[in-house]
Symmetry: C2
Subunit: 341 residues, 2 copies
């Protein structure tokens, strides 16, 4: 019979007390799993060395369900923040990690999530250096929420800024959209397809680094279209910079089953969350080389140029449809996919 | 009639969608309140300049109630993380800020908390540089949870490490203990005293900086005894370093009404959370000067030396009682004060 890892089956309020039970949980699970000199200081914080410009990003993850096709909340929490740091043109290096656990969460589930976080962090090349665990009463949370804050050194060649975007720049999407949102929604709705739709959650930092190594300042902007989808991300860029964005509907990469799932649920894939896709806005002269380089990478196999920056309809995103019509793409209003990440 | 600040009375799921409503909430409340160039980038992250050794600390705050005598969850979230960074011997400079809001939270309450965060950050001399807002369904959270991650440059003279503690070092407490926990508990239990017990939540970073300026490496350790109280903090230090700690019961600074409240509720003040107190373990030769300097500061008026590091009972904290007996102070087991911070 397998030896049980913990003396307890479920997380209870005592694990958030700051006393012996908290320490036992940390020692048995967190410190053993992560096992690095930063955490071993067991202080309230950690000390690292970084020089120069540092990119910092924070995100809380509240996805429901916490385990889904293609990943779990822990994987999402690492990839999501690693990607946000990368989108700033930086090389992610360190993560902080904070849990809010609902009393009654199964110790095995917590353990699996923590181990996934460690494996994902290793894959991303980042180190978890400090953390926190709080426990709330049953019915005052929902199994587990995770905050990660990530930081890394800005790439020396990077000049990522929406202000640098100019007319004629090309808009590239790194892969098929709407995978993550539809994986979660299919699971919630109990939809079955020929094969299951899996979340696209993955880390994009190495591909971003390669692109910066090769193209430097000719890359104007990176953004990952998570909550609100591609439509909301492009709309925000157009609004904030008062430029026009023209995209072509039939260029947008979308997997057949995901498209079918969207149709069944009445969702527009342009508004559905992605967790392994990014948008690059680049100088037109490098666009085809950027797409070619992305396609060489497993994270960018379906990369494609979907449109460009125009002088028309400033502050708006316009989509040219397959049959020739044009429509304005508005950002998401309200919410149709709560707690997708 | 006062003009309403928002077009909505309550936070709803749409405010966490990543779409227009999220943007409206951020523009109206967050960006206007904090109004700094870091946040104005409106990117997924922020870029700052720091050189050298950086201290990083993260904490999620889940205190209930969210408004209490002496503060609210927002003030706690700033002071708590600022203090944790300071305890590493660092000068806090930047904060990330992430909210998990329960659907239905009153917009006014959220607004008040955000404004408190801004005022507290200003008082601490830190800048909120990046953030995140998620909304969960009613009954899946509890009004609001806040994560802050703080960072700052390590003081050039600081050599904070439990490993540097040696026999004879003195243990100093900066102020009256158990205030925060008893403020929360009195409010929950509806206890009334001659005057209300107020949380001691405050920022300790400037006093810490002054001490490091004056005494540098002769200060061995700073710790703030929050969850689990003074007993748990001292026990952890003793266990982790395998040194003996001897403290004197009648030296421990405790306000009369707080002592009374503890007695009524059957709580030992040694285990009750503090949010504006720190422990300093220092070379014996500077101990009286450290206490004197603390007493000059409004944050350290009740500072006192409560004991010392001994060669006896390694790994344990022993308390000498007022009437001469000795007892071992164990860390908190289980939980008697859930969601105190």
């Amino acid at each position: 019979m397998e030896k049980k890892r913990f003396r307890f089956d479920k997380i209870n309020l005592g694990h958030g007390s700051g006393g012996i039970m908290t320490r036992e949980l940390l020692d048995e699970l967190i410190f053993k799993t992560f096992n690095n000199p930063y955490l071993d200081q067991k202080h309230d914080g950690s000390i690292v060395n970084i020089e120069g410009k540092i990119a910092i990003s924070t995100d809380s993850f509240v996805v429901s369900p916490i385990f889904f096709k293609g990943g779990n909340i822990g994987e999402l929490a690492v990839n999501g923040t690693v990607n946000d740091v990368a989108m700033c043109g930086a090389i992610p290096k360190y993560l902080s990690l904070a849990f809010i656990v609902e009393e009654g969460l199964k110790a095995d589930a917590f353990s699996e999530i923590v181990e996934t976080i460690k494996a994902t962090a290793d894959r991303c090349g980042v180190v978890v250096i400090t953390g926190d665990t709080k426990v709330v009463e049953r019915g005052k949370g929902d199994k587990i929420f995770i905050n990660t804050t990530g930081f890394g050194a800005v790439h020396p060649e990077a000049e990522i800024s929406a202000k640098r975007i100019t007319i004629g720049d090309k808009i590239i999407v790194s892969g098929n959209i709407a995978q993550h949102g539809m994986a979660i929604m299919s699971q919630r709705e109990g939809l079955k397809f020929e094969s299951d739709i899996e979340s696209d959650t993955t880390n994009l930092n190495f591909l971003i680094e390669d692109l910066l190594n090769s193209f430097g300042a000719k890359i104007k902007l990176f953004r990952d279209p998570t909550r609100g989808g591609l439509a909301s991300t492009l709309s925000e860029i157009a609004t904030d910079t008062n430029i026009g964005i023209l995209i072509e509907e039939d260029k947008i990469p979308l997997e057949r089953q995901v498209a079918a799932a969207c149709e069944i649920l009445g969702l527009d894939p342009m508004y559905v969350a992605n967790e392994g896709v990014f948008v690059a806005i680049v100088d037109s002269e490098i666009a085809s080389n950027v797409v070619a380089m992305m396609k060489q990478d497993s994270k960018g196999l379906n990369a494609v140029c979907i449109g460009e920056i125009t002088n028309d309809h400033k502050g708006k995103v316009v989509m040219q449809s397959a049959i020739g019509g044009k429509r304005i793409v508005t950002p998401l209003i309200g919410e149709h996919l709560p707690r997708i990440c």
